[in-house]
């Protein structure tokens, strides 16, 4: 049971990372901000300078 729980936790972590939820949480922690439309906009401005400059494969 523990293994299954652990596997599900990892799967959730993978999905949260792929879908930028974890990155947004880290952004909120780092900037000491609460989740809001403005905070999300600021997150994406920062994201544009890093993630969106990376290549995506064919």
């Amino acid at each position: 049971m523990t293994r299954i729980t652990r596997a599900l936790a990892i799967l959730r972590a993978v999905l949260r990372e792929i879908f930028d939820e974890a990155a947004y949480q880290r952004f909120l922690c780092r900037t000491h901000a609460a989740s809001s439309p403005d905070a999300y906009a600021a997150f994406w401005r920062e994201r544009e300078a890093t993630k969106l400059r990376q290549h995506r494969c064919c």
């Binding site: 990892i10 879908f19 930028d20 995506r56």
Partner: protein
């Protein structure tokens, strides 16, 4: 006892691999079951990972779990971040898995299932996985530097310039060719066009939801978006049956090309949160789900492969694309075997997330194995079709004729019987008017996938839904790459132009955004238009050009890797990158030679230009002649650039080996990790 059991287990895996690959390789005449491919691939990957990657990790790279990675040393909570290895694996796989491993193997299936399968397995285990693994590790040891930066440092300034220029050229050709795949999948298809069109308002809705209603709740909104996409697929069926609405969504290839060009320009210029990001999430959600479902579907349904192991087209007379099995099978399939583009991902985000050096093996080598497995699934999806059907879908009208009677007669005369009634019934089953001349690989893959699923889930009654789900999946996937690729290319051009005139380098300055977006879209739009107007279907000229460009980038990556290995005084093991490098040089240089100089007009760009010049002179002919000459010039330019990198690399190797040059490794000094201490 445990060691003995382990040895016995690996002996059993080896025997099963030999048996399965043996059956795939020597079986002739009768159809074989897809499970042989699945078993052979699984065992080869297991053996490659367990033994070959471990050998590379231990003997050549000397992975050191005690050496702090840039994620630990430079952690900033943004791009540098210590991350769980499975999370990095998923992240890396999602970045490297594009439409390439689905389209390339489907096109190469014209040679039969055997060449593609063997190349995907051997290419991945001995070349592609190795490239991704070593470049990832070398980037980790250099603070996450990009391939371009490493090429400049290790092989000289020319290496850096060539890597940069190759990336720009590859991006432009890639964007054109994948846009062409979408055009060919959607032309004259009101159902598909409506469904894909609806993904734009769905993505906008998701963007607004994420920004205004529930900021950051991406998984939640992705599920919502997925449900809406399923509704759009269902709605597409109603549209296709409507007397008034069906004609509105029945578009010809040139119209679709213009719409896609306009869309990509808009997507590159609008705020990222509004369209690009939500579409990316939706695409990733659908992609991961569909790949998983397809894998389960193939194992559970274990369909029969109707395509022969080898077809008569190994001689170079293939209708899907012209050219002999060597070298063209090996440039047609890139992403499933080895793809230069992967080296950009391995030296991009991923090295900045790795917690320990030892994890580069699983992430670099392992994720590429998963990608290769996707390519095997694509081969299966294409080869479950009757060969006559496969060729009817994938052959351009310029080769088999523009009427159903002409096409079926030509294809049947090749020894692959197919009738107009067969094709009509299949088109009706998948909700299309016709499936003839649907070049590009995506429709054939969609029909194959629908065929596999319809054997159990819902039967043939829902085949149309499965087909359009598959088309939607591929088109969504590709349009996301178009959005993101156009934007990345825009950034690259802005960076370069910023050195000439500073404001042009500002990514938030709208005149610069508009100008550079227009430039990029015009460049790939030109090649797309060329493909749409090409009487041979466009794929015949553009896909090999893309394959050559992509494999030449892999050549640059392997030059960098070999140079570093030699500088590390591991020369006796340099063959692990040198042999794939030699193979790729042979493949890409031969393919380039054929594409430029082959006397067959279906293969050689210059021969085709010459043949056109000998015919009646019209405006269309003049344009086609220019296009062919341009394609030849682009290919020649790429080969010259990579030759310069090769020469520079060989000079480095000879210098180091003869002692006339210092073997200076430019990597970050060793710093002891704190992660071990923290763990206790």
């Amino acid at each position: 006892m445990k060691s003995l059991l382990s040895t016995l287990a690996w002996v059993a895996v080896s025997l099963l691999a030999a048996a399965a690959v043996g059956v795939v390789a020597v079986h002739r005449g009768e159809p074989i079951n897809a499970l042989w491919l699945v078993a052979g691939a699984t065992c080869c990957y297991a053996l490659g990972y367990r033994f070959y990657s471990k050998f590379i990790a231990a003997k050549i790279l000397a992975l050191d779990a005690l050496r702090a990675t840039p994620a630990e040393r430079l952690e900033n909570g943004r791009d540098f971040l210590v991350t769980n290895k499975w999370v990095v694996f998923g992240h890396h796989f999602a970045a490297i898995a594009g439409p390439g491993p689905l389209v390339g193997p489907v096109l190469a299936a014209q040679f039969g299932y055997l060449p593609g399968t063997l190349w995907v397995l051997a290419g991945a285990v001995f070349a592609g996985c190795v490239q991704d693994f070593v470049i990832l590790l070398f980037s980790v040891r250099r603070d996450g530097k990009s391939l371009t930066e490493m090429a400049k440092e290790e092989t000289g300034v020319i290496g850096g310039i060539v890597a940069y220029a190759s990336v720009v050229v590859i991006l432009i050709i890639l964007l054109a060719v994948i846009a062409l795949v979408v055009v060919n999948a959607l032309k004259d298809s009101p159902w598909g066009t409506f469904t894909i069109g609806m993904t734009i308002p769905i993505a906008l809705l998701m963007g607004l939801y994420l920004r205004r209603i529930r900021p950051g709740r991406v998984l939640e909104v992705s599920v919502l978006g997925f449900v809406l996409v399923l509704l759009a697929i269902w709605g597409g069926q109603l549209i296709s049956q409507s007397q008034t609405l069906a004609p509105v969504f029945t578009l010809r290839a040139p119209t679709l090309a213009i719409l896609i060009i306009v869309y990509a320009f808009a997507a590159s210029a609008v705020p990222v949160w509004l369209l690009l990001a939500p579409r990316d999430y939706l695409s990733t959600f659908v992609k991961l789900g569909t790949v998983g479902i397809l894998a389960i579907g193939i194992v559970v349904m274990h369909p029969t492969l109707h395509m022969p192991a080898l077809t008569r087209f190994v001689d170079g007379t293939g209708p899907v694309f012209a050219g002999k099995i060597f070298p063209f099978a090996f440039i047609t399939i890139a992403c499933g075997a080895i793809s230069g583009f992967h080296s950009l991902i391995s030296s991009g985000t991923t090295p900045k997330l790795i917690a320990r050096e030892t994890e580069t093996r699983m992430v670099g080598y392992g994720a590429m194995m998963a990608e290769s497995a996707v390519a095997v699934m694509a081969i299966i999806a294409a080869c479950v079709l009757q060969p006559g059907v496969y060729f009817a879908i994938n052959s351009p009208a310029g080769v088999v004729g523009s009427t159903a009677a002409a096409a079926t007669s030509t294809i049947s005369n090749w020894g692959f019987p197919v009738t107009g009634a067969d094709m009509q019934a299949l088109a009706a089953a998948v909700g299309e008017k016709t499936l003839f001349n649907r070049t590009g690989g995506a429709p054939a893959f969609a029909v194959g996938m629908a065929h596999i699923f319809s054997q159990s889930l819902g039967g043939t009654e829902v085949m149309a839904l499965w087909y359009h789900f598959a088309v939607m999946f591929e088109a969504l996937f590709i349009l996301t790459i178009l959005d993101a690729g156009t934007r990345v290319a825009r950034f690259m051009i802005q960076d370069a132009l910023g050195h000439i005139y500073k404001p042009l380098g500002r990514t938030s300055w709208y005149p610069s955004i508009i100008a550079t977006s227009a430039l990029i879209v015009a460049l790939w739009g030109f090649f797309l238009w060329q493909g749409v107007k090409d009487p041979l279907g466009g794929i015949n000229s553009l896909w090999p050009l893309f394959g050559i460009a992509n494999q030449l980038l892999a050549t640059v990556a392997l030059c960098v890797a070999t140079t570093i290995i030699i500088k590390m005084h591991r020369t006796k093991y340099a063959a692990i990158t040198l042999v794939p490098l030699a193979w790729l040089v042979a493949v890409t240089f031969t393919a380039s030679w054929h594409k430029i100089f082959d006397s067959n007009p279906k293969v050689g760009f210059l021969a085709q230009a010459h043949a056109l010049a000998a015919g009646p002179a019209t405006a269309a002919t003049a344009r086609l002649i220019f296009n062919n000459q341009l394609d030849a010039a682009v290919t020649a330019m790429l080969v010259v650039m990579v030759t310069l990198v090769l020469v520079e690399s060989v000079r480095q190797w000879v210098g180091v080996l003869t002692g006339s040059r210092e073997a200076r490794i430019i990597e970050t000094p060793f710093v002891m990790t704190r992660l071990v201490e923290e763990k206790g």
